[in-house]
């Protein structure tokens, strides 16, 4: 019985010891060497007496990050990756919630770690990787762990400005990985081209399905995505045959006409995507170039371990039709609930709610927010049973597939990232001289627009927000208003503001 994800790695290190597990330009780890490194990291953490404790991984994206994650798992701890390019002010908000016991970083980044307000013990990856002789310590740690103990905590945007930490246990990742591997028939010959940042849970699919099956994950350098022709050349060179990307990455490749212009196309067998709405216009470009590949639209928030519904693209769509998000994954139940908590009938709109082993344990250190989103199943009055309310409004189409319609609140998806517009407004409103702000999403042009009034100028706002927010949350258009429109309740009239876009 598999209880911990580390068992996937143990098995693959025995069956495929010399197979490449993870690679990037200039670095590769076989399953055997990757496991050894992970055990070394785990040994260091266990020797420091850490168990069931949060480990912040503050490293540049790459193969070594993954050993740090597995080191945390082997020692019975759990990991939180953060983006090293995110301003210290926001990482400090994460640190405040997580209160990590250990921070794993690199020599070159220690100065940045010094800017964080923490009481953790700081390790460099290099010093931990040099540990040895810890197999017994690891065995002991895992013997005290159960499958509902945490594997990772990933942070998402929160409307009040405090990010929420979604706490996921081993059981949920195993439940998900088994489904992925069976559904998409992943095996040891496959090569994933990883695009998702590790602080984004799409990466869970790449990492753990490869670890289970002996497949290879190629961590594609982020810079390759800027120039799609080079990206495609890279994918040919590394024989990448499976990708699970955020739609905006697929769209960039299609919009820049790279598939037409490339000398050779990569040998793609599976093209999966998740994280935001995939427009058929760009998907059709991909489908024309990869006629034999499997395309699947996956859907799900971080709170239910990456994915809860799946649509295998099985028919033609015109450019302006929406793509279904499909049907529930195995061992997952989807309830579409109306406002009065009934199951929605045909053509009725309801909120997508999820039931299953995939549910997060809650928001780390935040019982209030947990209680709001993880609630008793209103259809079950007999025993405690949690469902997760996604806040996404959906309905069924005539084929019984779920169609995504919109959000219930001000949350948006931009470049695949979940963003609470309120978090941007909070940050912008705090700039000295700022009187009124409102943030809107221009869905047609896929950009964040900030309306502002006050003494602060555009350049000042831009530079101030750059110090507080990750890059993908910085507005791409600034509109200064002499007067804001208000509705009868005295609130900013967001519908009127839309006319200014």
């Amino acid at each position: 019985m598999i209880n911990f994800v580390t068992q996937y790695l143990d098995a693959s290190a025995i069956t495929y010891p010399d197979h490449i597990a993870f690679e990037e330009p200039g670095k590769r780890e076989t399953f055997k060497s990757f496991r050894e490194k992970s055990i070394a990291i785990g040994t260091g953490l266990a020797k420091a007496g850490m168990f069931k404790s949060p480990v912040l991984v503050y490293m540049r994206k790459g193969v070594d990050c993954l050993s740090a994650f597995m080191g945390a798992a082997y020692s019975g701890n759990f990991y939180t990756p953060v983006d090293v390019s995110t301003p210290a002010e926001r990482i400090n908000k994460i640190v405040e919630v997580l209160r990590p016991k250990a921070i794993i970083s690199e020599e070159a980044l220690l100065e940045n770690v010094g800017e964080l307000k923490h009481d953790a013990r700081v390790f460099t990856f290099e010093e931990l990787a040099a540990e040895n002789g810890g197999e017994a310590l690891i065995e002991n740690a895992l013997s005290r762990l159960i499958d509902t103990d945490l594997l990772y905590v990933l942070f998402t945007s929160g409307s009040t400005g405090t990010p929420k930490g979604v706490a996921i246990c081993h059981r949920s990742v195993i439940d998900y990985t088994e489904w992925v591997v069976d559904t998409f028939k992943i095996d040891q010959a496959d090569v994933f081209g990883n695009q998702a940042p590790f602080y984004f849970d799409n990466s869970v699919l790449d990492i753990y399905s490869a670890m289970k099956t002996g497949a290879t994950v190629n961590v594609i350098p982020e810079k390759k995505f800027t120039f799609p022709i080079e990206l495609l050349k890279y994918m040919v060179e590394y024989k990448i045959n499976t990708i699970f990307w955020v739609p905006s990455a697929l769209c960039v490749v299609a919009n820049l006409k790279a598939l037409q212009a490339a000398e050779e196309l990569p040998p793609l067998k599976r093209i999966l995507f998740c994280g935001e709405v995939m427009p058929n216009k760009q998907l059709n470009v991909w489908r024309r170039h990869f006629k034999d590949a499997l395309f699947a639209n996956l859907y799900g928030p971080t709170e239910i371990t990456d994915v809860c519904t799946c649509y295998m693209v099985d028919r033609e769509f015109t450019d302006d039709e929406p793509l279904p998000i499909g049907k529930p994954c195995r061992n997952t139940d989807i309830l579409v609930l109306t406002e009065d908590n009934r199951l929605a009938g045909p053509d009725e709109i309801g909120e997508l709610c999820v039931r299953g082993s995939s549910l997060a344990m809650g928001y780390y250190g935040n019982p209030e927010k947990t209680a709001e989103a993880f609630v008793q199943n209103p259809l079950n009055l007999c025993y405690p049973e949690k469902i997760y309310r996604t806040g996404d409004l959906v309905k069924y189409n005539e084929c019984g597939e779920i169609m995504y319609l919109s959000r219930k609140d001000f949350q948006i998806k931009h470049r695949g990232h979940r963003i609470e517009l309120g978090e941007i407004e909070t940050a912008a409103g705090a700039i000295p001289g700022m009187e009124t702000v409102a943030c809107l999403y221009d869905t047609k042009r896929s950009r964040i627009v900030l309306f502002h009034r006050g003494k602060a100028g555009r350049e000042e706002i831009f530079s101030s927000l750059s110090k507080k927010l990750p890059e993908y949350m910085i507005p791409e258009r600034f509109i200064e208003l002499e007067e804001f429109p208000y509705n009868v309740n005295g609130k900013i009239d967001r519908v009127k503001l839309k006319d200014y876009l």
Binding site: T226, I229, V252, L256, K257, E459, E460, E471, E476
Partner: protein, 76 residues
């Protein structure tokens, strides 16, 4: 033309000192989304079509390089 390109760039990232960099790509000023917006702005502003094969780092590293790119692109 240089002036207009600089304006387009500063609309993308207000306050960024584009004149201080000799290689926007190496300095990490422009990501894939910036390139997409930049191309559509350049195409609209100068009535050209930028071919996919020209979307390579060398053509976007500086304002001069972008001027050359626009001059060598097909007119609509």
């Amino acid at each position: 033309m240089e002036k207009i390109i600089l304006e387009i760039l500063s609309d993308l990232q207000p306050g960024r000192q584009f004149t201080e960099s000799s290689d926007f790509i190496a300095d990490g000023y422009l990501d894939s989304f910036d390139i997409v917006s930049l191309i559509s702005e350049l195409e609209a502003e100068f009535s050209v079509i930028i071919s996919a094969a020209d979307i390579i780092p060398e053509n976007f590293m500086s304002v001069d390089a972008m001027c050359e790119l626009v001059k060598n692109s097909e007119k609509v």
